[in-house]
Amino acid sequence: MFKKILIANRGEIACRVIKTARKMGIQTVAVYSDADRGALHVAMADEAIHIGPPPANQSYIVIDRIIDAIKASGAEAVHPGYGFLSENPRFAAALEAAGVAFIGPPVKAIEAMGDKITSKKIAQAAGVNTVPGYMGLIADAEEAVTISDQIGYPVMIKASAGGGGKGMRIAWNAQEAREGFESSKNEAANSFGDDRIFIEKFVTQPRHIEIQVLADSHGNCVYLHERECSIQRRNQKVVEEAPSPFLDAATRKAMGEQSVALAKAVGYASAGTVEFIVDGARNFYFLEMNTRLQVEHPVTELITGVDLVEQMIRVAAGEALPFAQDDLQIKGWAIENRLYAEDPYRGFLPSIGRLTRYRPPVEVMAGPMADAGTWHGDAARGARAVRNDTGVFEGGEISMYYDPMIAKLCTWGETRDAAIAEMRLALDTFEVEGIGHNLPFVAAVMDHPRFTSGNITTAFIAEEYPDGFQGATLPEDQLRRIAAACAAMHRVGEIRRTRVSGRMDNHERRVGDDWVVSLQGAEFALKIAADHDGATIRFADGAAQRVTSDWTPGQPLAKLMVDAVPLVLKTAKISGGFRIRTRGADLKVHVRTPRQAELARLMPEKLPADMSKYLLCPMPGLVVKMYVAEGDEVQDGQALCTVEAMKMENILRAERKGVIKAIKAQPGDSLAVDAVIIEFA
């Protein structure tokens, strides 16, 4: 076994690899750019080597820098994580030349599968179903349009070297094909240093289901069943689960066996993932094979108990797989939610900044990983598992240079419902402040009836949230629980206020029992009867709820029991009540005496200022291109300018017909969020 390995990556995946390596007694070497000097993976590794300036194309994806770091550290093997150099055959070849083991598949397999056009041909040859598409290289935008016309819209335009939604566009007409080709090409060049693009039929109403395979260099290859990753936003996975609620045993077996056949066809050895599109009739089509550890691998680990990183390291060291196909059973259900530094209230645009508060839920060990002893890190054992793979910490900085994913929260339960229930609580408990993030959004998805029923497709988000996300709307029973909790909490706070020094003896304020709680447009009159253990809250209609909690004023997280069911609220004081965040909702809750409530009803409702005459910068970023000039008349949907943030090019479009009155930003300008870019007449 290796004595020392280097992790050619950053963020959560570097941390995750370090954990397994440490468990195996292997020394770890981290690499870092200037932006990651204080990053978590650097702190966790046994040693860390600086490899250059913040942009990945000057540090993390510069092969020579990594090779230098390997030489300097004396590492015997390299784990590439995902992204960056993980599927770069030149990197694997360079390692081979340097006599260093690559913790990944052989160079040939990467080459064969890394190129989507080649991989499709090989898959076809191995008897795997494929989606129609154009396999050749595309010279320019015009050719892209011609090809797209031939395949028939909608088409998917993809970076040949791409992955994770980067350099990928869907075009529904020729104009979009033209634009999509250009921006995919740019993104591909920036992100992967390879601007080749290909186009294929975009299968509507599909599910994304993928098979995890694991092969060694002794000819053994197994599949670790499937993961369903249908909850995607613009081809970026958000929620994953294993197993899929959709597959039957026969389909699972067929997909698994085809995946193994493909892996064997390319002489695969390591962990890999074969992605399929599955339609409503359970027909499945090969999409691509990812010759690396997948972001969402934890859900597979949670239901099989296999530590995939450990197996990758062992395979790279020449060991044979310790299990056969029949040993790999599915036990329980695992869900993963990806925490992105993307603001759902601003169209999911990237958010950067300082994590002023970052408190993930406490990890709990359970299920196959606990049974197999593959759980890494220390966690108490429980009935359901909570696992958080993260690369950030409170006080850390989310920079604009890298992927906006900052954590992967996973839960495991005996059933899908149990895993979802545990996830809801875990999300409510997860505190992230200082940046915009998608926790409220994934919390809303966890409560969505279509998700809970398992009736999902890759169009789920586009269909269910066509106008974006404005926060969840809670049902009345939930509002009542929150109202009861807030009334009890408010009362505790008010009683504390009456205990201030300097009050007039014998003329103290008495805090009453009658309150009116208003939230989400609803109003509840209620009466509190407090005792030693908590409070009984009786609503005007006679219904009563029992609230108990050890919450004290000022605590940002309130963990309560309402009628013996847990309720977790993120609380912040506002005038006359609380801002409450729970289950994807963001509410202003006012707790008032009946008289205060009566007077508050007289207060006018104030509308926010009209900013519709301005194009505001939706995220901090760099203006790359301006397509219009002052005085231009623009049509609804016309591209106005491109703003680059977090390596993604975002085309900002006109929301309605209008005339440009003034342009307030120029290409090259770095803009803050809500900075005015264009003023309309």
């Binding site: 000097r37 204080g38 300082r354 994590l355 002023t356 508060r357 910490f393 409170e394 006080g395 850390g396 900085e397 504390r496 206020r497 009456t498 205990r499 201030v500 020094s501 300097g502 009050r503 007039m504 003329h507 103290e508 304020r509 008495r510 009453g512 004290t552 004023p553 000022g554 605590q555 940002p556 004081k573 005038s575 006359g576 005496t593 008289r595 205060q596 007077l599 508050a600 007289l602 207060m603 006018p604 104030k606």
Partner: protein
Amino acid sequence: MKDILQQLETRRDAARAGGGPARVAAQHAKGKLTARERIELLLDEGSFEEFDMFVSHRCTEFGMQDSRPAGDGVVTGWGTINGRQVYVFSQDFTVLGGSVSETHAAKMCKIMDMAIQNGAPIIGLNDSGGARIQEGVDSLAGYGEVFQRNVLASGVVPQISVIMGPCAGGAVYSPAMTDFIFMVKDSSYMFVTGPDVVKTVTNEVVTAEELGGASTHTKKSSVADGAFENDVEAMAEVRRLVDFLPSNNREKPPVRPFFDAPDRIEPSLDTLIPENPNQPYDMKELILKVADEGDFYEIQADFARNIITGFIRLEGQSVGVVANQPMVLAGCLDIDSSRKAARFVRFCDAFEIPILSLVDVPGFLPGTKQEYDGVIKHGAKLLFAYAEATVPKVTVITRKAYGGAYVVMSSKHLRGDFNYAWPTSEVAVMGAKGATEIIHRGKSAEDIARLAKEYEDRFANPFVAAERGFIDEVIQPRSTRRRVARAFASLRGKKLSNPWKKHDNIPL
């Protein structure tokens, strides 16, 4: 007998009805509450004791003898806020437009006198059309009496003004002399001369809102210390402020039970200061992480945002915070920030509220605008205020403390009790580059760069100052709350007085 009791109730009901249902409805239609409704929200339920309910004016000019409503347009009395006594007057716009008559003013004066005598804050809820023109000079005399009492009460009991409707002409000068002015957005305005006069005299066309609305006075003029969304919020927030303030200048600031460990460690503060010394960070994060329960009552949040002022609690006791804000103008001192902070420091000192200063200041803002407008004298106000303050003073330097601004910001030299510095701090006469260019004038750019690096290594740290005792201790950022809380705890018995004087002569 029963008739007499009944007669009292009838008269009371008439007085409580104010200007009658129509005027009350009009008041509500403007999004405003009535004088009595506001008092209900301001004071503890059932605690209001009214004075002078039946006072009415004595004017007989212009037919005024036919309209003598009970209370004369202002409701006065006392009550409690969380059990602590306060005096309050609330002008009733529904009665004669809340205009100030001789008797209206006399009612205000009565409760002001009592407040000063009994040592309780005065809260004024202003909603008045101005002087009662029919009374002429009697009305002016009334204002004068109120002004005199504002001045006598200043520094004796806290005075809080809330502008909840019009406040124009001479009327503005009573709030102007109180400790805090708050406004209600969209329904209040304050100005010495209104839009009509402005138009006549200067030809400027301006709306009342632009001339003297909440936005103008919280952002531009700094006349107001804060603005609230509506009357309900305003009353709730005044209650919250009163919770921080002592009742008078003979009492210690209030203490209340707290639910936050004084020794709470905040590891994230270790990374608050960015690696790049020119990159800003949000000083408010430090304030919130030091404060009990993250509770901060900011004063003048929208004005001179390069300095932050407001109240927090440490171990349940009120503390005034003054902090440079690197997010705005790099946290430098200028005319506005010096004036803002100086006034806040003097308020704290007057009312025995300890002061915590958080320092990251690169110096005073340069420029002709600043010099022509008198930054020398205005900057001196903050220096003066800190130097004369005898309350417990604890200072934490987080990053830059350069030049004269270092001395101003509650330094050891101005009788700072505890002067802490983070390891990231740089206590120096100025930035390395500037200093090197002066010391080594005429050297090549290359030499300057090298010498600046040497200067930085030697002086851009807290240790030179610590070697001299100007810094008492270099502390870990993560333990700031514990260190600061213990420092203030050790100063609870502090006794310090300045030489006897009639009063000082602060550069106004």
